[in-house]
């Protein structure tokens, strides 16, 4: 039987990295975001190059930064099109959503999100990538990181 990893042990092994989300004065970190090495590469190299919706005032990297920082600062996340569990909910995979960006990952424990993949909203829709990303997140969680994840289907199950 394989023993389960923890966020701490994976950070020591450099299989997970904390995402830098700088809060504003007066805010406190209530939640945490980490990324796999693949996610961190996407975050620093691909995200800045993503195409932008013509009417959006924020660039894709600004959109997802704002959403993830709101998340980290402890704001409510129960409005549509922000953080949603992917279907079917039995997978325990969640998706952060902005106009131009999608981030896929899971919660090994409450208030701790592991980002595994990111992509443009348009590519996800045009090529129907959601199912593939979900399956890959499950595989990476179970086989590569060997982490537990929260199953539930409700936002209150994964954040406080």
């Amino acid at each position: 039987m394989t023993s389960k990893s923890t966020i701490t042990s994976l950070r020591l092994q450099q299989k997970l990295f904390p995402l830098v989300l700088r809060l504003e004065p007066g805010e406190a970190a209530h939640r945490f975001v980490y990324g796999t090495p693949g996610f961190m590469t996407w975050w620093s190299q691909e995200l800045p190059k993503l195409p932008m919706d013509v009417e959006e005032v924020l660039s894709p990297k600004e959109q997802i930064f704002a959403l993830l920082t709101d998340f980290a600062s402890g704001l409510r996340m129960d409005y549509p099109k922000e953080l949603e569990e992917m279907k079917p909910p039995e997978g325990g995979i969640w998706e952060f959503q902005t106009v131009d960006v999608r981030v896929f990952g899971f919660f090994p424990e409450r208030n701790h999100f592991i980002g595994v993949f990111g992509d443009s909203t348009k590519r996800c829709h045009d090529y129907g990538l959601h199912r593939g990303y979900m399956n890959e997140c499950i595989r990476i969680c179970d086989r590569e990181l060997v982490l537990d994840r929260i199953f539930g289907g409700k936002i209150d199950d994964v954040i406080t």
Binding site: F17, V20, R22, E24, P25, G26, E27, A28, M40, W43, S44, L47, P48, D53, E55, E56, V57, L58, S59, K61, E62, Q63, F65, A66, L67, T69, D70, L75, R76, Y79, K81, T98, V99
Partner: protein, 125 residues
């Protein structure tokens, strides 16, 4: 690891996100009073899809639009610019000038005498 966004980009992103979030909260509260997004669209004589796009970011939100939406929701928008000290004060934290080691406070950079913008939407009486 360095941050993906510089200070200016971060502040802009948080402000725009905060305004949209306030509007989403206002619409969620309106829904509890049986006022739907479609009702607001009718009041403003716009397509409901326009409001959806304004809330999710795929349509530009101007200050005038925010004023219109607030009116249609029976709310009053307010706007304020706060210093870092004022933000800390609001959060109930010691401000820089009250701390012995002022340089350790939050590490704000740049020309930021004036820091984040806040927009509140307040319900009409």
């Amino acid at each position: 690891m360095t941050s993906l966004l510089d200070e200016r980009e971060q502040r802009r992103a948080r402000f725009v996100g905060r305004v949209r979030r306030q509007l989403k909260i206002a619409f969620a509260e309106a829904k509890k009073r049986d006022v739907s997004q479609a009702d607001v669209a009718r009041t403003l004589d716009v397509d409901p899809a326009v409001i959806t796009r304004q809330l999710n970011g795929s349509a530009n939100l101007t200050l005038a639009t925010i004023g219109d939406l607030a009116w249609a929701l029976g709310l009053y928008p307010q706007f304020e610019l706060l210093t870092e000290a004022q933000l800390l004060e609001k959060a109930g934290r010691p401000t820089a000038n009250k701390m012995a080691n002022a340089t350790s406070v939050s590490g704000s950079e740049g020309p930021a005498q004036v820091t984040p913008f806040r927009l509140h939407v307040i319900e009409a009486a």
